[in-house]
Symmetry: C2
Subunit: 233 residues, 2 copies
Amino acid sequence: MKRSTPPTRCDNARHRLEKVDCAGCVIRDRLLFAGLDVETDRLLLSPIAHYLMKPGAMIYQEGHQAAAVYSIRSGSVKLSLYSSDNGDRIVRLLGTGSAIGLEALLEPHYQHSAVAIGPTNLCRIPTNTLHHLGKQQPELYRRLMAQWQEQSLSADNHHVHLTQGPVKSRVINLLSILESLQSEQSATFYLLTNQDCASLLGISEESVSRAMAELKRQQVLRKASAHRWKLYV
Amino acid sequence: MKRSTPPTRCDNARHRLEKVDCAGCVIRDRLLFAGLDVETDRLLLSPIAHYLMKPGAMIYQEGHQAAAVYSIRSGSVKLSLYSSDNGDRIVRLLGTGSAIGLEALLEPHYQHSAVAIGPTNLCRIPTNTLHHLGKQQPELYRRLMAQWQEQSLSADNHHVHLTQGPVKSRVINLLSILESLQSEQSATFYLLTNQDCASLLGISEESVSRAMAELKRQQVLRKASAHRWKLYV
DNA sequence: CGTCCGCTTGAATAGTGTCAAGGTGGGTGG
DNA sequence: CCACCCACCTTGACACTATTCAAGCGGACG
């Protein structure tokens, strides 16, 4: 079954900010350029754009031309893979500090679709810029490899905690992952749709709903504000 | 539950071959050094050892000092992650052409345990060698990144096909993955233990046994030789 | 104000997990 | 060389969990 509603188009939900100041970025030490000599590379960095994505906004789409890597300044993102039998299936969740779309450095097309979960703040870095920077500062390659490494490991950990055991514990594990990815505003977080949870956990949508319902009844999961939830261990 | 039998110790089951000739390697174009100027680097490459691992032999262990990357010349390898609640859980399967233990380039300890599934033929490449080579031939970095990229994607695909749907189809998907990883000798392959399959698929060992039994009854899975099996779609 | 999408809930059913009891084969030590 | 042992696999019966199908609800948005 295909997803009935396509995710919001990029253009509708992305908002470009005019002021970009990588050197002064608050979380620079967690991002791709951490520790690199950015000051001397203002010209190179100028093509970097800074976007605010609304929840549900698509960042890039599987199979489309890949000309940029994105670095998440805040918020969280889901990566999904299309398979003919199942439609889109979420394969990874990423948060602040992660770089997404790294395949743009190696291949012509994106291999996942990336969609913002909550409001998400990110930088778009054209691959050209990265290639140039890389020639001047090979340390960048190490950082890129570290990104892949870190993401593989977190994917493995998700696999371990989300794909085994009874539904209820999988759902709790998923919620704590969401909490940790978005841990900026007092541990509140945006939820995925039940459909998305089901796809991640490999279970049915109704089972997710039932598990969530029980967690709410037990007050383990409570609404913190309009779209934000909080977990009480 | 902890695995009761520790995997065979390295020393018992690994056999070092004396003759190493990377330049003449039959599958050089699928391995890490493909296309690199290896001829002029004989000195650098000399520390590369070549091993034959018996089925079940441990290649490296999670948490141990990481001083080398391994490149799989033939055979297949399982990577597992330890978690306190479950003991070892398999998170990835890799075959000919893949490089394992890449984390050695970035971190002091291995993050997985790696165990040979069938007889496995591999090269051990000290990280020093890679770092030196990398300085001279930055193309190597691209290859390394491509390895990570490729492995992430295959991990994602495994996740999609092994963690959803009824047990029987998951088992079949797992078998075809094993088949494709070891596709050298007329599409026959070594099986994982039921325990390992169960851990990969997130189901119980008995369910694996039952599914396998049915596949054998239906002649979808047949024994080809002592330890080798073959799949008849 | 109405429609649509996603969420919730129920009841019946099929699928899995669990527990328990044997079977099998390879490896070890007497 | 044989017998034992241990790990691994198999099978059955049963309880229980999760899926499925179906109906109704609620909020978001035009």
